[in-house]
Amino acid sequence: MFRYLKPVFAPLTAVALVMSFAGAAHAKVEGDTIILGAALSFTGKYKTNGKHTKNGYELAVKKVNEMGGINVDGKNYKLKVIYYDDESTPARGAQLAERLIKQDGVQYMLGPYSSGLTKAMAPVTEKYKIPMVEGNGASRSLFNKGYKYLFAVLSTSEQYLAEAINLAAQQALAAGKDPSSIKLALAMENDPFSQDIRAGVLDDAQTHSMNVVIDDKLPKELNDMTVTLTKVRALKPDVLVVSGHSKGAATAVRQMMEQKVDVPMFAITHCEAADVVGKFGPGADYTLCATQWAETMTYQDKYFGAAPDYAKLFEKEYGYTPPYQAAESTASVLVWVDALQRANSFDTGKLRDALAATDMQTFYGNIKFDETGKNVAKPMVLRQIQSGQYKVVAPTKWASDKLIHPRPKWSER
């Protein structure tokens, strides 16, 4: 039967093809609107952070449009973002990147949430030479593949907890001890992200010639750290660093508290996402938390003012304090705005070069990309939970409060 339909199909297919190309040619800028594309996790395991990311993008778009939009070649343009749900699965993310570029004709991409999704989408954007600015893919492996069209505004994962090691070294020096006398304990989830963090920590530990006494890789399937904590009790390290997304953060804080494990310095990631203060109250005190950004910092830009102003606006708009995932998403849009204005063109090649030459300050921090596309101008921040409040304690330049060191013993609290 298909044999007879062939003559009908062929022209139809041709028409469809022509139409899709015609659509592609116009879709990047429609009238006075510049279209950005993003695949985000609205369902599945990343949906909370997917929402933060979307809110971050939307707030930036709203603010930029309110302030007159973007001036390119003497004409004012508004911004708009097309979203798809990637269902928190990398394979779907890659498909959607393809779809955004080929079918919707998007020429300017914003990143998805998580390193895994970014890793799936980057090869696609690279293939079509479409620049992507992202704020939620921190894995080191994104920046050693020679990608030319990927730009990340956030600090990469090996920087996440390295600051804690430097802080421990400073504390040792201040106490008149040699940093090389410090005993380190590491408990990192066995996934690429946490293992990147581990590599960064080990690098810094080596510079101070510290002694790594525990180096556990926590299985992903596991949510029990008792064994590692038993080792901590036996070996009494000076610093314990843990990374394992929200699950690792919640498990570590909870079991440290329940088993009354004393360690002078305890640093983790994802405190905010795991809501350790809300869940464990005073049990979470004195924990050091790595964060990309804190709303108490003093960076600023013309769209949002300083970080506290951004936080206030975000809270008014969405009813909750912005987590750093939202802030870095907003910053990604600001990078696009800056590049479009500097390039003064819609040509993706020129825009790529403009992005590569980015050197700006936003409320989120300074942004300047190295040749691999990662932001080298912004340090990670360490906050310590003090009486249920997050206080910036490192790096010293941005610190608003003093580190309480060592952590008080459980018996003395």
């Binding site: 369902t43 599945g44 395991k45 990343y46 949906k47 909370t48 408990a187 066995n190 180096d215 556990d216 890789k217 926590l218 299985p219 399937e221 596991l222 949510n223 029990d224 750290m225 008792t226 064994v227 590692t228 038993t230 080792k231 009790r233 036996a234 070996l235 929200s246 699950k247 919640a250 498990t251 909870r254 329940e258 088993q259 009354k260 996402a273 795991a274 809501d275 869940k279 464990f280």
Partner: protein, 299 residues
Amino acid sequence: MGNLEILLQAPIFSVQLLIDGLLVGSIFALAAYGMALLWGVMNIINISQGDFVILGGYVTLTLYNAGIHPLFGVPVAAVVLFIVGWVIYRAVIYRVVDRDLFISILATFGISILLQQLMDQIFGADIQSVESGLGQFFLFDNQVTVSQIKLVAFAVVIVVGVVLVLFFKKSRMGQAIRATAQNARAARLMGINTDRVYAMTFAMNAALCGAAGALVVMTWVIQPFIGLAYTIRSFMIVVVAGLGNIAAVVAAALGLGAAEQFAAFLLGAEFQIGFVFGLLVVILLVRNMFLKRQRQVLK
């Protein structure tokens, strides 16, 4: 082997590992009871076992958020999951009971995906946990901590085990379940409503998982997508213990729990799960050898 030295020089830490392993194992034992029951009676390997556990955790979390002490979650989650199990049996499982094992694995895999997504929609993807308000026992100059909630879990497992044994021995339904497990066709000929027996079995399994989930959320953390770990663990326990014996299930669960704690301490946490799987292979090989020998004798 620096870690072995620690254990030799300070044997007190091996007490900690042993106690923790036994108590952790007891929580897995509950879900494993259910799996053994289901597998033995209905010849179904339930992939959604772990998702029932997590669902039980969410039931407890809901109670906790409503201001009710989470310990009540153990019976309440069991009852709620009993109903859920019954509904799932009536909707899906009864169609696949007598079919190929592969079909039921697919069906329960589907249920697992459905439950995960529903939990994600209703409760969100964030990590959740519940404070039982119970403390710790500190023994041997604070060198060994025993969390009281894990002791409660241990007690629950023992009580449930005893109740189950009595139920199977004494009650009419228990006897009917055993008869159906032995020979469904003969049981049907004797006037047993096997469809009802199956529904009961499936619902009881879900209830056991629910109770386990209540203990899990008080001991660790839950999230809609981490159920599979519990499915695999219960599967493994059942494979080691065999189908028909509750005491063996408990013993296997506790033994595996303790073994993996020691493995994690000595080899590093990354080998914790790997070690257990390795052990499973060894046990299967050894069992196979024994079974072969028996067969030869029977000839």
